[in-house]
C-alpha cells in the first residue's frame, strides 16, 4: 500500500473517526477526537490490512493555544506508517492511556504527564522519572515555562 492508497483506505473506512489533515508533509496525518482515541487505536492495530502494531513515537506539543498529542505508528508486517493527533484545550488536558493497545506508550505517557502536565487516565504508574523527586517548578516543556537560570538565545537586532 502506498501512502496515497493508505490515505484513501482510511478515508473510506474510518471516515467517522479520523479526519485527514494536510499538515503532514511526508506521511499521512489525521486528527482524532480525544474521546475516540482508544477506539481508533484498537481499530488501527487490529485491522487486517493495516496491522499498525508498532508505536514509533508519541509526544505532546504546546502550540500556545492548545496541546497537540501526536502518535506516530507503524507496522512491522505491512510496513505502513501514519501519524494521528489529538488537539485538546490548554486547561485540564487529559487523555486516555493507550497502553493496552501499545504497551510502549507507558513511558511516553509518563514523560508527557511529567513535562507537560497532561493527565493520563488509566495509566497506573504516573510517577516522576525525568525530573527530580522534589520538583515544584511546573512543567518545563510548556512554552510559558520560565526559570531564573533558563537562558534564551540573545536577540540580535
Amino acid at each position: 500500500m502506498t501512502r496515497d492508497q493508505l490515505k484513501d483506505y482510511i478515508g473510506s473506512k474510518y471516515a467517522s473517526l479520523m479526519t485527514p489533515l494536510d499538515t503532514g508533509r511526508f506521511d499521512p496525518m489525521f486528527e482524532v477526537k480525544a474521546d475516540r482515541l482508544f477506539e481508533v487505536s484498537r481499530a488501527l492495530r487490529d485491522d487486517e490490512n493495516l496491522k499498525l502494531d508498532f508505536l514509533c513515537n508519541m509526544h505532546a506539543t504546546d502550540t500556545r493555544e492548545n496541546f497537540e498529542i501526536v502518535y506516530s505508528i507503524a507496522s512491522i508486517t505491512t510496513k505502513l506508517r501514519l501519524d494521528f493527533k489529538i488537539v485538546m484545550p490548554y486547561q485540564n488536558a487529559e487523555i486516555d492511556s493507550v497502553q493496552e493497545v501499545w504497551p510502549a506508550a507507558n513511558w511516553y505517557e509518563r514523560e508527557m504527564w511529567e513535562l507537560f502536565g497532561i493527565n493520563v487516565k488509566n495509566h497506573g504508574n504516573l510517577k516522576r522519572f525525568l525530573l527530580p523527586d522534589d520538583w515544584n517548578q511546573g512543567h518545563p516543556m510548556r512554552k510559558d515555562w520560565d526559570a531564573p537560570d533558563f537562558v534564551r538565545m540573545p536577540e540580535i537586532q
Partner: protein, 367 residues
Amino acid sequence: MSAVRTEEFMVNMGPHHPSTHGVCRLLLTMDGEKVIKIEPYIGYLHRSIEKICENRTYHQCIPILDRFEYVTAMSCNYVFSLAAEKLAQIEVPERAEYLRVIMLELNRIASHLIFFGTTAMDLGALTPFLYALREREYIMDLFEMTCGQRLTYNYIRIGGVSRDIPAEFVPKCREAIKIIDQKVDEYMALLNGNPIWQKRTIGVGYLSPELAVAYGVSGPILRASGVDFDIRRDDPYSIYDRFDFEIPVRPNGDVFDRYMLRLDEIKQSVRIISQALDGLPEGEIKAKVPLKFKPPAGEVYSRIENSRGEMGVYILSDGTEKPVRVKTRGGSYNHLQVLPEFATDILIADLVAIFASFDIIMPEVDR
C-alpha cells in the same frame, strides 16, 4: 530450619555503577543473588535537548542534536536533516547522498565496535574492549579527516553535507574497512567458541518477538528476536535501495544472538560502504539552502535505522526560522522500558549481561 527468616532487599544499581553505561539507575528488588523486580529511573543525563531546539534555528539544531546520541552522532545529524528536507521538499544531490550513506555506515560500525567491547567488558573480559577501540580509531580518523571532529560531527546538514571528502579519504576508507572486516573474524575466534562466553550468553535473557514489538523494541534487538524488520529496507530512506546487502536475522532472542547479530551487521555495513565507494559520483555536495532556512508550516516525523534501533525526529514548523517543537525518539528509550517486563527472576550477573546486550546509552534515553 524454620527459624531462619529471609527477606528481600533493595539494591540501587546506579546511577554510578560500572555496568550501567552512564547514569542509569536501576532499583533492584533482590532475593539473595536473584533479581525479582527492576525499576529503572532515568533523567540523570537530561539536558532538555528538545527545549533547547525550540529556541534555535534549524541550522543551529544540528550541533545540538549531535549530543542527542553521541555514539552515532552522524545518525542524529542525518535524521534531523532528513526531517527538515521532507518539510521543505529539498532535493539532495547524488554525491551528498552517497557520502551520507558512507558516513552513516561507518558510524554504525563504530557504534557496534563499542557495543562489542563494552559487552565483553561487562561479562568480565577486559581485553576485547581495547581491541574494539583500536579498530574504531580508524573510523574516528576518517571522520576527523573529513569533518574535523571525532565525536560530534555536525557533518550532515540540511540539503547535503558540510564538506566534501579529502582526496585521501577513499583509499584510507577502503583500507580501514578491510582491516575491520578481518578483525571481526578475530573477535569471533576470541569469544564465540569460549565455553565461558557461551555459558554466559546462550539462552540468557530471552526476549519474545511479541513482547519486543509491543514495547517498540527496534533495531538489532528486534532482529535478534526473529522479527525481520529493518527501516533501511522496509521504509527506505536515502539511497539504501540501491545497495545489495542482507539484513541479518537470528531466531533465539538471547544475549548471544544480539551479540552475533551486531557482528554480522558490521560485515554487512562493510559491504554497503565498499559498494558506495565504488559508485561514488562526482558533483555537488549540497543543495542550495538559505542561511535563513524557513520551511513551510507543517509537521513531519522521519525515522532511520540507527545502530540502536529506530531513531526518529518529529518537527513541527510554523513557517518561521525556529521549529515549534522538536521531538527526538531514540531506540534505547524503549529498550530500557522493556527491561523490567522480561528480565525478572534472573541473577544479577545475567542482568548485567542483558543490559550490556541491549546496548543502552543514556543520552538517548534522557535527551
